[in-house]
């Protein structure tokens, strides 16, 4: 019983007609989610800029507001006041619709993320598959932006987008199936409730594959060649200015927040934790995962597109399939009271697989012997 279900029952016993008792909690939930997620996106933009600054031995923005917390607001205001430039040869409809198609699915992901015990907007029983399905819509939006811009740099980036996003869906989905096997259902609430041992310990290889796949879906380093600053100027959003660019910008951080929340739910145990209230634990885990992605962004150079595809198809996908088979066998064989045995077995298999697959790592593009 989620909190909104209880609210609905309360309204029905208070005398409201059925359709109103269904509509009012839904509206309240939607407004809460949009408000809270957008605020969190703004806070995450601030947090990333400050953290990236500290990794790079400088202070981040710290002038606007106390310690710079109003800096993203200033950015948003600036973008709102800018002139909206559309290139002359651009495809007007595609150019106009692309930011919307990229941004709205990000908000829809938050509908199935459980923040606390029972605090979820819609307890779908296909929760995690819904997340993957919805986030694939953003890919089309990015390609619409790239194609509709009539800019060669954007076109190169658009081609890379489709290749990258489609190929990294597969390892992600296979890791999710592993989680679903151990839990018994795909609903996000039951996945959190089934985590007596956090799944990151129970299936380490699946967790790492999911994390890397999510990094690629988020277009963050080291897979950020869609908006590779140093190569193709700004990729698919080169020709965007003003509020449309703000939507891309917020969409990028929104999807980072959404995927951090999903990773925290699936692999780190959601809201469970000893002392503090569950919401605080959830926020701590989300911020931890996000900080880890910022740390990777600060350190690593980016991959080239054919190396990216090789990593997905030759590296992650076979490992994900083998991981799934191993977990399926263990779920059948290992009794539920001896889960710690599964932890040890999985760590051993993970080490063996990583060592085997690193033989694959060839350098020199085949032209040079290393």
């Amino acid at each position: 019983m989620t909190l909104l279900d209880q609210f609905q029952k309360m309204l029905m016993t208070a005398g409201l007609p059925d359709w109103a008792a269904y509509l009012v909690p839904a509206l309240v939930g939607i407004i809460l989610i949009i408000a809270v997620s957008l605020t969190l996106v703004i806070i995450f933009i601030w947090w990333e800029r400050r953290l990236l600054g500290r990794f790079q031995l400088r202070l981040g923005p710290n002038r606007c507001g106390p310690e710079g917390i109003l800096q993203p607001v200033a950015t948003g205001l600036k973008l709102l006041l800018k002139e909206d430039i559309v290139p002359a040869k651009a495809d007007k409809i595609l150019h106009f619709l692309a930011p919307i198609v990229v941004f709205v699915p990000v908000l829809m992901i938050f509908a199935v993320v459980p923040v606390s015990e029972g605090a979820i907007l819609a307890n779908l029983n296909i929760g995690i598959v819904y997340v993957i399905a919805i986030s694939s819509i953003s890919t089309i939006g990015i390609f619409m932006a790239a194609w509709g811009s009539s800019n060669k740099f954007a076109l190169i980036s658009g081609m890379r987008t489709v290749a990258q996003m489609v190929s990294y869906e597969l390892p992600v989905v296979l890791s999710i199936v592993g989680v679903g096997l151990v839990t018994g259902s795909f609903s996000m609430l039951s996945i959190v409730q089934a985590q007596s041992i956090p799944f990151i310990l129970l299936m380490p290889l699946g967790g790492v594959i999911f994390f890397l796949g999510c990094l690629a879906e988020m277009n963050r380093s080291p897979f950020d060649l869609l908006e590779a600053d140093s190569e193709i100027v700004a990729g698919y959003h080169t020709e965007y200015s003003g509020m449309k660019f703000a939507m891309f910008f917020m969409g990028e951080y929104g999807v980072a927040l959404a995927y951090s929340a999903v990773i925290a739910t699936l692999f780190l145990g959601g809201w469970s934790g000893p002392l503090l209230p569950p919401v605080i634990w959830f926020l701590i885990k989300v911020v931890l995962v996000f900080s880890f992605t910022v740390w990777m962004r600060a350190t690593l150079p980016r991959l080239r597109v054919d190396q990216l595809m090789a990593f997905a198809w030759k590296g992650l996908l076979p490992m994900a399939v083998i991981n799934l088979v191993i977990i399926a066998i263990e779920v059948l064989v290992v009794p539920a009271s001896m889960l710690w045995l599964m932890v040890i077995l999985n760590f051993a298999f993970a080490a063996v697989l990583v060592l085997l697959w690193s033989r694959l790592f060839t350098l020199g593009g085949g032209r040079v012997e290393v």
Partner: protein, 181 residues
């Protein structure tokens, strides 16, 4: 060279970045805290000493752009009286050749580096603007006699207590506006 595969190289790099998180930042909060420049800075707002200048014109010949305009007339025998001494600091490249070449130490570089003007005509320094005052001091470039009054340079290799540049680990942002901090 033995390469380490399976992600250890990446892990080492990330460990180094994490170590930098605990080092104090390098940048200073600029308008509130300013670093001290070297004593020999070739800054803007040059200083001219009219009592030492003899109007020989060596500086005008040494300037590679021809920025200095010097107009004199003959006063007592064997002396020039300087009517006009103008230096166009908008075109100046601050190479210091004029200061080096003056045989009477009559010209010195200034200490300023934040002197933007609204009109281009204001960059031309005439005799009033080149005068030595309390706010308008010369730098010690090629003039070691002025080095005693100037503060020591803040070098990056020294810590803050030795006059260097390093900040605290978690500096709070300075909200007050005004000169110095």
């Amino acid at each position: 060279m033995k390469f380490e595969r399976y992600g250890i190289g990446i892990a080492k790099g990330m460990a180094l970045t994490l170590k930098h998180l605990f080092r104090p930042p390098l940048t200073v909060q600029y308008p509130d805290e300013k670093l001290v420049v070297s004593k020999r800075i070739r800054g803007n707002e040059l200083v001219w000493f009219p009592d030492r200048c003899t109007g020989c014109g060596t500086c005008t010949k040494a300037c590679l752009q021809g920025n200095i305009i010097l107009v004199t007339h003959r006063g007592e025998p064997n002396k020039f009286i300087v009517d006009k001494f103008e230096l166009d600091s908008g075109r100046c490249i601050f190479c210091g050749l004029c200061v080096e070449s003056c045989p009477y130490d009559a010209l010195a570089m200034g200490l300023e580096y934040e002197c933007a003007k609204y009109r281009r005509g204001e960059t031309i320094l005439d005799k009033d603007k080149l005068k030595l005052t309390d706010q308008h001091q010369p730098s010690a470039y090629y003039r070691p006699q002025f080095a005693a009054k100037l503060p020591k340079q803040s070098l990056l290799i020294y810590d803050k207590k030795d006059g260097g540049q390093k900040l605290n680990l978690f500096p709070l942002s300075k909200r007050k506006r005004g000169p110095g901090a």
